[in-house]
C-alpha cells in the first residue's frame, strides 16, 4: 500500500509537466524550460556531492556540451539528435580523462581543479576565433523543431526526466551505499571492499555526460552559443544554491530548491533587474546558517520528531 501511494506524487508531477504547455503559453513555457535546465544541473551536481566531492565544474561541462554540439552541427554537418549525443559524449569522455588524472586527489584538490575548467574553456574558445567564432560565438542556421515552443519545452522536460531517473537509480541501487560510505569514511569504505577511485570516476563521468547533454540540448533550443553565456558562472552557482536550499543528498531536494529559486528569480528579474543575484546570495547565507540540510532536512527532522 505504501509502495503504491509513493508513486502517486511523482506520476502526477510528470503528467502535470507533460500537459503544462497545453494550458499555458510560450512565456510560462520558457520560464519552465529554464527551471528544468537548472533543476537538471542541480541534480547532477548533487549526485556527485553524495560522495562528498564538491564539483565546481558544472559550467565547464555544460559549456563543453554546448560548444561540441554546436560546432559538430555547424562544421561537420551532424544532425541535431546526433550532435546532442556527441556533445554529451564529449563531456563524458573529457570528464573520464580528467577524473582519471585528478580523482586520486579528493576533497579540496578535486574541487579546485574543476573550478578552473569553465575558465580554461572560455578563454580558449574566446581566442580561437577561426575555430569557434571567438567572442561573438556561433549561430546555428535553425533552432530544433523550427523553434516550436511546445516541442522545445518537451525536449527540455525529457532531458530533466532522464536526469531524474539516473538520480533515482543512484539513490536506490547499491551505488548509494558506496557513495555514502565514501562521504562518511574513506578508510572504512575501502576496507569494506569499495573501490573508491573507480566509483568516483564512474559517477563523475556520468554526471558530466548529463551536464554535457543539458548543454547540448540547450544550444539547439536557443540556436547560438557564446563563450560568455555557455560558460557563465551562473551555471555553476545557481544549481549549487538550488541543491543547498532544497536539501542535499537526495533527488527531491534539488527539485524543490530549483522550483523555488527559479520562480523567485523570474519574478525578481522583473521587479529588480540583476537584484535577484543579491537575493540569491542572501538565501545561500541564510540556508547555511539556519538550515544546513535544506528544506528537505527540515521536513525529515519534523517527520523524525513525530515518530518519536
Amino acid at each position: 500500500m505504501k509502495r503504491a501511494t509513493s508513486y502517486i506524487l511523482p506520476v502526477a508531477l510528470v503528467a502535470l509537466g507533460v500537459l503544462f504547455p497545453l494550458f499555458f503559453g510560450p512565456y510560462p513555457q520558457t520560464v519552465a524550460r529554464t527551471i528544468f535546465k537548472y533543476m537538471a544541473l542541480a541534480l547532477t551536481w548533487d549526485m556527485l556531492f553524495r560522495s562528498g566531492q564538491v564539483s565546481f565544474g558544472i559550467a565547464g561541462f555544460f559549456g563543453l556540451g554546448t560548444y561540441a554540439a554546436a560546432l559538430l552541427a555547424l562544421k561537420a554537418g551532424f544532425s541535431y539528435p546526433l550532435a546532442i549525443l556527441a556533445g554529451a559524449l564529449i563531456s563524458g569522455i573529457f570528464a573520464y580523462i580528467l577524473g582519471f588524472l585528478v580523482l586520486r586527489l579528493r576533497g579540496t584538490y578535486f574541487s579546485i581543479t574543476t573550478l578552473a575548467l569553465a575558465e580554461i574553456f572560455r578563454v580558449i574558445l574566446r581566442n580561437w576565433t577561426s575555430f569557434s567564432g571567438g567572442p561573438e560565438g556561433i549561430v546555428l542556421p535553425q533552432i530544433i523543431f523550427n523553434g516550436d515552443s511546445r516541442c522545445l519545452y518537451w525536449i527540455g522536460l525529457a532531458v530533466l526526466l532522464v536526469v531524474v531517473v539516473v538520480s533515482q537509480y543512484f539513490e536506490k541501487s547499491k551505488l548509494h551505499f558506496s557513495l555514502i560510505s565514501i562521504r562518511d569514511n574513506e578508510v572504512s569504505a575501502q576496507t569494506s571492499g569499495v573501490n573508491i577511485f573507480r566509483t568516483l570516476l564512474v559517477v563523475f563521468t556520468v554526471t558530466s555526460f548529463l551536464q554535457g547533454l543539458i548543454g547540448a540540448v540547450d544550444v539547439v533550443s536557443v540556436g547560438y552559443a557564446m563563450p560568455d553565456s555557455a560558460f557563465d558562472s551562473n551555471y555553476t552557482l545557481l544549481p549549487l544554491a538550488m541543491a543547498l536550499l532544497g536539501g542535499q543528498h537526495s533527488t527531491w531536494g534539488p527539485i524543490i530548491g530549483s522550483v523555488l529559486l527559479g520562480v523567485a528569480s523570474e519574478y525578481l528579474k522583473l521587479k529588480i533587474p540583476y537584484g535577484h543575484l543579491l537575493v540569491y546570495g542572501v538565501i545561500i547565507i541564510l540556508v547555511i546558517l539556519f538550515m544546513p540540510e535544506g528544506l528537505i532536512g527540515l521536513f525529515r527532522k519534523k517527520k523524525g520528531a513525530k515518530r518519536g
Binding site: S178, I180, R183, D184, V187, Q190, T191, S192, G193
Partner: protein, 233 residues
C-alpha cells in the same frame, strides 16, 4: 594464511618497522606493545594503506604488495579500524549490508550472514533501524566488528578493539572474539593484554618496531617480562 616476511616500513623518512616477520595460520594471534611501537603501521601495511619499503606480505600464497585496500577486503581480509570506523549516517542494518555488498563471495549469502551476526550481537538486531552514529561507543564497536564479519573473512584484523571502551564492554568484546576464533583467523593488536589473553592462542610483543617476544598465550601469562611490563604484576 598471512605471511609477513622481513617487513621494513615507515612514513616519509621515518622508519617505523624493522624487519618484522609474522606468520598467522588458522589461529588467533595477539600483537602487543606500547603506543608508537608500530602495531597500527604493521596493519596499515598489510591492508595496503601504506607502502612497505622492503620485505614481503603474502596471503594464501599470493603476494599483497602493490594491491589496493579494497582488493585485500575482497581477498578475505577484514579490518576493524581503530576509531571512527562506522558510517554514522546509515542505519545499523545498512552498515552491515555494506560490509557484504562489495565482496563478491559474501554478497550472495548476505542474508544468512546477517542472521549469524545477529545471533552473535543480539542488541544489533533490536537496533537495526537506528542510525549507527547515535549508538553508544561499545555498540558502535560491535557494529564495526559485525560489519567486518559480514564480508565472510578468512582473516579478521582488529586494531585495538578495546580502545575507549568501559571494562565490562571490553570483556564482552573479547568474549565474542573467543567465540569467533573457532571459525576465523584473528590478528588483534591490543594494549589491554590481560583481557585479550583469553581470546588468543599466541602473542607477539612489538617494541620500537621490532618483535621482541613471541609465545603461546599460556607462555605469555607466566613470562616475567610480560608480567612486569604489561600486566603490572
Amino acid at each position: 594464511m598471512l605471511k609477513i616476511d622481513n617487513l621494513v616500513c615507515g612514513y616519509g623518512r621515518m622508519q617505523v618497522l624493522e624487519n618484522v616477520s609474522l606468520e598467522i595460520g588458522a589461529e588467533s594471534v595477539g600483537l602487543f606493545g606500547p603506543n608508537g611501537a608500530g602495531k597500527s603501521t604493521l596493519i596499515s601495511a598489510t591492508m595496503g594503506m601504506i607502502k612497505p619499503w622492503k620485505g614481503s606480505i603474502e596471503f594464501n600464497g599470493e603476494s599483497l604488495l602493490g594491491k589496493e585496500t579494497y582488493q585485500m577486503a575482497r581477498l578475505g581480509i577484514a579490518l576493524v579500524p581503530q576509531e571512527r570506523e562506522l558510517f554514522p549516517g546509515m542505519s545499523v542494518e545498512d552498515n552491515l549490508m555494506l560490509g557484504a555488498a562489495y565482496i563478491p563471495h559474501a554478497q550472495a549469502k548476505s542474508e544468512q550472514q546477517i542472521e549469524k551476526v545477529f545471533t552473535l550481537f543480539p542488541i544489533l538486531k533490536e537496533r537495526r533501524k537506528q542510525y549507527a552514529g547515535t549508538m553508544s561507543g561499545g555498540q558502535q564497536r560491535m557494529v564495526a566488528i559485525a560489519r567486518a564479519l559480514m564480508s565472510d573473512p578468512k582473516l579478521l584484523i582488529l586494531d585495538e578493539p578495546s580502545l575507549g571502551l568501559q571494562p565490562s564492554i571490553v570483556a564482552e568484546v573479547f568474549d565474542v572474539l573467543k567465540e569467533l576464533k573457532k571459525t576465523v583467523s584473528i590478528l588483534v593488536t591490543e594494549q589491554n593484554v590481560r583481557e585479550s589473553l583469553k581470546a588468543i592462542d599466541r602473542g607477539c610483543v612489538l617494541e620500537n618496531g621490532k618483535i621482541v617476544l613471541e609465545d603461546s598465550a599460556d607462555g605469555l601469562k607466566t613470562n616475567p617480562y610480560v608480567l612486569k611490563s604489561y600486566l603490572g604484576l
